[in-house]
């Protein structure tokens, strides 16, 4: 499970119904996830979601469709069009991007600090911020 930090801005969330609508849309995908933290701040409702790693994309897309701000200074994910060249590895200060024994590229979400230095180093647009 991995953690997504997101903000539901006040302009979008006026009451419990708006909130439920957004959350229900994620539930439609039949994904089990935990809400670790629920807080209100000056900008809106802040949520810390604990979601399955392989469903990050689905959830992020669903949230973004509803104008939810998903952790802008976020971590990165490596998409399928990666060709294992490794041009991103030298940019990563925390060894979150690395080769396994077969020289296939691996990404460790736990080690990533979201500096985003790697994003524009990828010649395949295979790295996306979340």
């Amino acid at each position: 499970m991995t953690i997504i930090n997101c903000t539901l801005p006040f302009g979008i969330i006026r009451d419990i119904n708006n909130y439920s609508k957004i959350i229900n849309e994620i539930l439609k995908f039949d994904i089990t996830f935990n809400i670790l933290k629920f807080s209100t701040g000056s900008n809106g409702v802040n949520l810390l979601l604990d979601v399955p790693e392989d469903k990050i994309r689905t959830i992020t897309e669903s949230l973004k469709k509803n104008n939810v701000i998903v952790n802008k200074k976020g971590r990165v994910i490596v998409l399928d069009n990666c060709i294992d060249c490794g041009a991103c590895i030298s940019l990563c200060p925390t060894e979150a991007l690395y080769f396994n024994g077969d020289y296939k590229l691996e990404f460790s979400y736990e080690k990533c600090i979201g500096c985003l230095l790697c994003v524009d180093s990828c010649p395949r647009y295979a790295i996306e911020e979340m």
Binding site: I83, G86, P123
Partner: protein, 490 residues
């Protein structure tokens, strides 16, 4: 001990050929010695998969009705070269699309074509009596056109350099994103798996050599452009039928702020004809050495601070100026290995045979630099005297100097003539508007500078990328020796 091509091919035919990859050969020779290895091993396979900017494809579309003779044509908005017969063209991988340039280019067109995707063809013509059609706008797939021939004038560099950046800003180059102050290092080439490094004297690789190209069968058709055998930077000119190839081994790529290219998968099988070849194909990453090159210096002859082995580069870090610098490849070892394995299996299954080259590659050509007949101009040729003020002077004095000398930039220095900052006429206007009295509040202290020996184009690019109109010229002690402004460059 010697073996002939026909002996090896006979073994391939009856399934008894012993084939290993160049990586496996290193260990075999280590354990058995070259003499035994030469007897035991028949073929060593190699592979490489990296960005090869000198790649492209010839396509022939067949004739339209009424017929057209293209003057200009575009494939998915990428301009293709037309200077041949009516409906031939060459699509080069680094040509970028007219729209979405830097994101999509000729390399992507080739990947899409090989993937079987429809490609939009738009073209126009000045029309002739025999070719009256003025415009074409259609789509096609690879199976609907006549020939689709990958034709790459320079592939499979024997080895390549290791790029670093000594400058104080991030550089976006064909060697990827290079962080300032030697922040990282990038290298290319497949090391011990590199085809030409395993046959460095080109005994078996030459015109007509059958190879793995883009997942299909291709041929070496000669030395590549910039072939530089003496410095161990040999290259190959290759061709192959795109219709046999797969997108897994032909990938369009885009390097940020540099442009597009094509990853090409290429593998060569080397017959072990003699003991010498057994020895050569056993070359290891530790024995393959290349230069570290400083791309922070925007000149042809860049500084080369040291040499490193592929073993060190592949370890993930190189040692430079007493520090450990993170180092990663631009080409994929995973795919290079897969290519060598695939070629090995083709031979084992009796699907791929070896042939002697019709002619071997030259071993004595030299890679010459471009001769420039017009005189190269430097900053020192066009700089002018900098109008300066001390860093503790009054804003009013700065304003007076701007008016008196009819300039827009005043360079701020200390008593030793060391650069402290720059003030523009706009900064003065802003100071008045915001009622600022202290010069230090309006000085730009992080100044982009140039030096006497920078070529003018380098200075011009500094102004363009930083959106500024002047550069103080400084010497090695950071003393101000002049100024160059966009007015001089116009």
């Amino acid at each position: 001990m010697t073996k002939s091509y026909s002996e090896i091919n006979e073994k391939i035919k009856n399934g008894s050929a012993v084939v290993v990859t160049a990586e496996e050969m290193v260990k075999i020779v280590e354990e058995r010695g070259t003499k035994v290895a030469a007897e035991d091993i028949d073929v060593v396979t190699t592979g490489t998969f990296g960005p090869m900017c000198s790649s492209g494809a010839f396509l022939n579309f067949g004739h339209s009705d009424p017929p057209i003779k293209f003057e200009h044509l575009w494939l998915n908005d990428v301009h293709a070269y037309h200077g041949n017969a009516a409906v031939d063209c060459y699509i080069g991988c680094t040509r970028m699309a007219d729209i979405r340039s830097f994101e999509y280019g000729g390399g992507h067109v080739i990947e899409d074509l090989v993937s079987g995707k429809p490609i939009r063809l738009k073209g126009n013509s000045y029309t002739t009596d025999c070719y009256p059609l003025a415009e074409v706008d259609t789509t096609f797939t690879i199976n609907e056109i006549n020939q689709a021939i990958l034709l790459n004038p320079r592939n499979a560099y024997q080895r390549y350099v290791c790029a670093v950046n000594s400058s104080d800003k991030t550089l976006y180059t064909y060697m990827g994103k290079l962080l300032p102050k030697y922040g990282n290092a990038h290298f290319a080439g497949a090391g011990a798996l590199s085809p030409l490094s395993n046959d460095p004297d080109y005994e078996t690789i030459g015109i007509g050599t059958r190879i793995f190209l883009g997942g299909g069968i291709g041929y070496v058709i000669g030395e590549g452009t910039q072939h530089s055998p003496k410095s161990r930077f040999g290259t190959l000119f290759v061709k192959g039928d795109l219709k046999q190839m797969t997108p897994e081994y032909l990938r369009g790529v885009s390097y940020e702020k540099y442009g597009t290219s094509l990853f090409v998968g290429l593998g060569i099988a080397i017959p072990i004809l003699n003991e010498g070849l057994a020895k050569k194909t056993a070359i290891s990453d530790a024995e393959l050495i290349t230069d570290v090159v400083d791309y922070g210096v925007p000149r042809r002859d860049r500084p080369k601070p040291k040499q490193v082995s592929y073993k060190e580069m592949k370890s993930g870090y190189i040692e430079l100026n007493g520090k450990s610098v993170k180092c990663s490849p631009m080409s994929s070892f995973y795919h290079a290995k897969k290519i060598a394995e695939t070629l090995k299996n083709w031979i084992k299954e009796g699907k791929f045979f070896l042939n002697p080259p019709a002619e071997t590659l030259p071993t004595d050509t030299v890679f010459k630099p471009m001769k420039i007949t017009s005189e190269l101009k430097f900053v020192k040729d066009l700089k002018k005297k900098a109008e300066t003020c001390f860093d503790d002077c009054d804003i009013k004095l700065v304003a007076e100097k701007i008016i008196k000398n009819n300039v827009n930039h005043i360079v701020i220095i200390d008593r030793d003539n060391i650069l402290k900052g720059i003030v523009t006429s706009f900064d003065i206007t802003k100071a008045i508007a915001e009622d600022k009295k202290d010069l230090n509040e309006i000085i730009t202290k992080r100044v982009i500078t140039t030096s006497d020996n920078d070529p003018l184009d380098v200075a011009a690019r500094k102004m363009k990328t930083n959106e500024i109109s002047a550069l103080p010229v400084i010497n090695e002690q950071r003393k101000v020796v002049g100024i160059i402004t966009s007015e001089e460059l116009m």
